[in-house]
């Protein structure tokens, strides 16, 4: 039975999604679609927590260890919060086929879980495609809205394009090692053969695309902006978590980084991402695009941890901690937008939020301050401290300084949002009414952003534990 436990969450999600195919009409009529999705994700979450570690012998493509469990947990939690939070905004977004919507959401979560749990590259690729295909569709969920389908098209074309690269990477890995497993026997260091290097580059391109790292970030602003905000909320967390999980595992477990060569590759991408993301966000008036660019930059910060990875668990733990913190921040940020309205995007839509809904404005302020790395959003600050710490302690001074200056620069645009919300007058004085689930979800995000900073120790321990798995290799 133990051998099957890794499958339990996957199975739950797939069966749950099948439930929509069977009882979708009924659920739509009784307005239980969201609730059902929550229950399914909740059960999956529970099962992940309960999943026992798979031993060294890996059966049937899935591996459970503290690392993959933490990421799976994070993906599920993120999905749960974003589903809870945006359940009431679907109507405003004119998404009427809610059972299909949730079907796709559950399957994409399933794909994300596959990505972090996969023990072979085939599973990983399937997971990637499951997640991506579902998300392509979700982006176009507002079928009547031009921007939505446009974003779906862009996401689809670019996603498939990058998938091809990723697939080529897998092929080359297969050619170089003769196996499709994530961990090759014997393990090979990436710089040991040109083919492996090529494979690594290809896979990094694929993952960099999913993470929105520059120069593969072009899709991010368009898709984040065009997709329904509820989908953006979900995507900004789950895709990042899954892709980071995959990237970390591939780099460390498959390609046995760090080598000076691979570090160079990642260094360049990290620097490009944070710089391009921050600069491009500087002049945005669309909050969603700005958050999109900022997510590029944030991914750059996180990549910094992998660059600084030296074989000890600290660097990865830093990435994980920041990933957790970032999930809370980004979900919170997008959820605030979707709570304002289905088409809330421009800075003007945020104006005067403090008057229209103090609660929303407070959450927004906390979350955006956290993104900027300023208290009281301590999670962002502590996360940055940790990332900078590992970067510095592995003597990447240039990277750390670039990142620091970038994060200073980022304040310029992050703070414009709370400034507009709190300090400018509203175009409409209509008070916003939030549904209870939205409030709860927002509270969870804002609370997490603060509490992760005030009491970070437990999470840090968790992250260190998880990271230890990777660094043990």
């Amino acid at each position: 039975m133990n051998a099957l436990t890794p499958f339990a969450p996957i199975l739950t999600l797939s069966l749950g999604s099948l439930g929509y195919l069977l009882g979708g009409k009924f659920m739509e009529r009784t307005k239980l679609t969201a609730l059902f999705a929550c229950v399914v994700v909740g059960v999956a979450l529970y099962l992940i927590v309960g999943a026992v570690d798979t031993g060294p012998t890996i059966v049937h493509g899935l591996v459970v260890n503290p690392f993959s469990r933490l990421l799976a947990l994070l993906a599920c939690a993120g999905a749960l919060v974003s589903i809870v939070g945006s359940a009431s905004s679907l109507r405003g977004e004119e998404i009427e086929m809610t059972s299909e919507y949730y079907f796709l959401m559950l399957t994409s979560l399933c794909g994300a879980l596959l990505m972090v749990l996969a023990s072979d590259l085939l599973t990983l690729f399937i997971g990637l495609e499951v997640a991506s295909l579902a998300l392509y569709c979700l982006c176009g969920a507002r079928v009547a809205k031009r921007a939505s389908s446009e974003s779906a098209l862009k996401y689809f074309l670019m996603g498939s394009f990058s998938s091809a690269f990723f697939l080529y990477g897998i092929a080359l890995w297969y050619g170089a090692t003769g196996t499709l497993a994530v961990v090759s026997e014997p393990r090979v260091v990436v710089s040991s053969s040109p083919l492996l290097m090529l494979s690594f580059l290809m896979m990094v391109v694929g993952m960099a695309f999913k993470l929105g790292l520059a120069p593969f970030h072009f899709w991010v602003p368009d898709v984040y902006q065009g997709a329904p905000t509820s989908v953006t909320t979900y995507m900004s967390c789950v895709v990042k978590v899954a892709a980071f999980g995959a990237l970390l595992r591939l780099s460390i477990e498959s390609f046995v980084v760090p080598t000076p060569w691979s570090t160079g590759v990642l260094w360049l991408i990290a620097v490009l991402a944070m710089t391009v993301g921050n600069f491009a966000a500087l002049q945005q008036r669309s909050v969603k695009r700005m958050l999109a660019y900022s997510s590029v930059a944030q991914a750059g910060y996180m990549l910094m941890g992998l660059v600084a990875f030296d074989g000890s668990s600290d660097a990865i733990a830093a990435v994980l901690y920041y990933l957790i913190a970032y999930s809370a921040m980004t979900i919170g940020a997008f959820m605030v937008l979707s709570a304002i309205g289905p088409d809330a995007d421009d800075l003007d839509d945020v104006r005067g939020l403090g008057k229209r809904s103090p609660f929303l404005a407070t959450c927004l302020t906390v979350v955006f301050l956290a993104l900027a790395g300023l208290p009281p959003g301590l999670a962002g600050l502590i996360g940055k401290v940790y990332l900078f710490a590992v970067t510095l302690s592995n003597e990447f001074y240039g990277l750390a300084i670039i990142a620091a200056l970038n994060s200073a620069l980022s304040c310029a645009y992050y703070l414009r949002v709370p400034a507009a919300a709190l300090f400018q007058s509203a175009p409409s004085e209509v008070a916003l009414r939030l549904s209870l689930p939205t409030k709860v979800a927002l509270l969870v995000c804002a609370g997490a952003v603060v509490m992760l900073g005030v009491f970070p120790q437990a999470v840090l321990d968790l992250a260190t534990n998880a990271a230890a798995v990777l660094s043990a290799h």
Binding site: L374, L381, I382, S393, C411, A412, F423, Q457
Partner: protein
């Protein structure tokens, strides 16, 4: 539960709680303003009472040294602690913070709208500044250091002038660029701390006493790390040429926020240099002292010169702040105990004076509706109280004797002459220019024939509470000017250990770079060392030092 073990946290928590309460629904829009004000006054008065109660003992007892600590774990795996410490140095600044906050909060003029946010921001600002003055863990300090931005940016954005967002952005970028580099430096230090602490529980160390007890960095590392700290603090103080956020911020901010910022924020920079940079980078501080002296002295003259060209009251105050704080920099640079104590005292005094000036000038601006003093004039007969207090605080600002500023500047000048006579001399010209622009401003605003055109917007003289508050500030300025010794010994008691333990060795380490090779001069540069042997009962005798 022992009061003392929570007392320091209370200093931070009380205003925080007060701020949260201010935001609550019980101070409604129209009717709640005064109630909210009194609540905020109550809270800030409580904080003042609390800190005075803590400091009282050492102010009354001549030889008592003040030292209270509160240490808790925060992020053990990372070596970050919640460590607060109240000693003479921090006590001085915390008292200043509490007093200025009380005055700014109680001051009757406030923006017409948003009383809840106003008092909440001010109280939150008070909490964060106090936190910054108490924290001895570098990361904790950094957190408070960043939190301090809150009242300024918020105040600017909510109630600022026409160019408020530009000003807020400028302020923010300047300080954040500085502080982020400092964050890197902090982390680097913490990491280096790990390297030497060995395989302890904590992997990093950020607590200042722990860090300073170790020789963590190589000379080159120290330069870079210390430079990052220095830039951050230099922006905050502000030191020339990193001051250009100051005029914009002070010009656009509402009076209370400008007073708060000018009086308190820069002091954190000075405090930071003394609290953190001194113990951590003694060698660097000795090395960089000549440069700092130049920056300080040039800042004094430069600030004064530029102030001379100002037409706007607020800009004038901004540049005069730059000028006055140059003295602090010069004092710190001289590394003579006298001058450094003077620098702290000057910082304290500048806080009092500048807050008062901002508030009283604010009254002028509010009443006349204009702020460039070409269009003001002849106000003295119309606003006698304003004229009176403005004169008192102007006098204090130009450091006339018996005001607290004089004590500070006097100590700095006398103390730093031994190390940097030429720069001290330059600084003295700033003193002259200071008198020129201050009196010119006063002359243009208050003196001359009353203008009939400026009658619009007149709301009469200062109100009763404001008179009381201004009197309190004036009184404290004169009391400190006349009886500074308790405060001075409080400061000195906190600084002395650092002096004795760190600079003696640091001075020897950099003997080579000293401007003179004469050993007597070495002693002259560090009077404390030589003074030990020659001090008699009444006077400090110093070895002579040629120019």
């Amino acid at each position: 539960m022992d009061f003392n073990s929570y007392a320091l946290s209370l200093l931070i928590l009380v205003p925080t709680f007060g701020a949260l309460v201010c935001l609550g629904p019980w101070f409604p829009k129209e009717r709640g303003a005064e109630a909210c004000r009194w609540w905020a006054v109550l809270v800030s008065a409580l904080v003042l009472a609390l800190i005075l109660a803590l400091v009282k003992g050492s102010l009354v007892e001549p030889n008592a040294t003040l030292s209270m600590e509160e240490a808790r774990t925060w992020i053990p795996s990372f070596g970050i602690t919640y460590h607060l410490k109240l000693d003479g140095l921090s006590a001085v600044f915390v008292v200043l913070t509490a007093l200025i906050s009380l005055v700014v909060i109680a001051w009757s003029a406030r923006p017409k709208q948003g009383h809840r946010a106003w008092y909440a921001l001010l109280l939150a600002g008070e909490a964060s500044v106090i936190g910054a003055f108490l924290a001895t863990d570098l990361v904790l300090f950094y957190v408070f250091y960043e939190l301090m931005l809150l009242p300024v940016v918020g105040g600017l954005a909510l109630w600022g002038g026409a160019r408020k967002f530009t000003a807020a952005l400028k302020f923010l970028l300047y300080t954040v660029v500085g502080s982020v580099l400092m964050l890197l430096a902090i982390i680097y230090l913490g990491w280096s701390g790990r390297a030497l602490l060995g395989s302890g529980e904590a992997s990093f160390a950020f607590e200042i006493t722990t860090l300073s007890s170790l020789q963590l960095l190589t000379a080159q590392e120290e330069v870079w790390v210390a430079l990052a700290f220095l830039i951050a603090f230099a922006v905050k103080i502000p030191m020339v040429p990193l001051h250009s956020w100051v005029p914009d911020t002070y010009r656009e901010a509402p009076h209370g926020v400008a007073a708060f910022t000018a009086a308190l924020l820069g002091k954190v920079g000075i405090y930071g240099i003394l609290r953190f940079m001194w113990p951590l980078f003694p060698t660097f501080m000795v090395q960089v002292a000549p440069l700092l002296a130049v920056i300080g002295a040039v800042g004094i003259v430069y600030g004064a010169l530029v102030a001379l060209a100002q037409k706007d009251i607020r800009s004038l105050l901004a540049y005069s702040s730059v000028s006055h704080l140059g003295f602090c920099v010069l004092g710190i640079a001289s590394i003579s105990e006298m001058a450094v104590t003077g620098a702290v005292f000057q910082a304290l005094s500048h806080g009092l004076v500048t807050a008062a000036l901002f508030l009283v000038f604010g009254a002028v601006i509010d009443r006349e509706g204009v702020r460039d003093f070409e269009s003001l004039g002849g106000l003295a007969p119309k606003l006698p109280w304003v004229a009176f207090f403005l004169m008192v605080f102007s006098i204090a600002s130009i450091a006339l004797p018996l005001t607290s500023s004089f004590v500070g500047e006097f100590l700095i000048i006398i103390g730093s002459w031994a190390s940097f006579p030429q720069w001290t001399l330059l600084a003295l010209f700033g003193v002259v220019l200071g008198a020129v622009y201050t009196l010119t401003a006063y002359l243009k605003i208050m003196f001359g024939a009353p203008r009939p055109s400026s009658e619009t917007g007149s709301r009469g003289d200062l109100r009763g509470t404001d008179v009381v508050l201004a009197s309190a500030l004036a009184l404290s300025i004169f009391v400190l000017g006349l009886f500074p010794q308790r405060v001075l010994s409080l400061i000195e008691g906190a600084l002395q250990p650092t002096f004795e333990s760190r600079f003696a060795s640091a001075a020897h380490a950099v003997e080579g770079i000293s401007p003179n090779d004469n050993p007597v001069d070495q002693a002259g540069a560090l009077p404390v060392v030589s003074a030990k042997d020659t001090a008699n009962h009444d006077h400090l005798s110093l070895d002579s030092r040629s120019l």
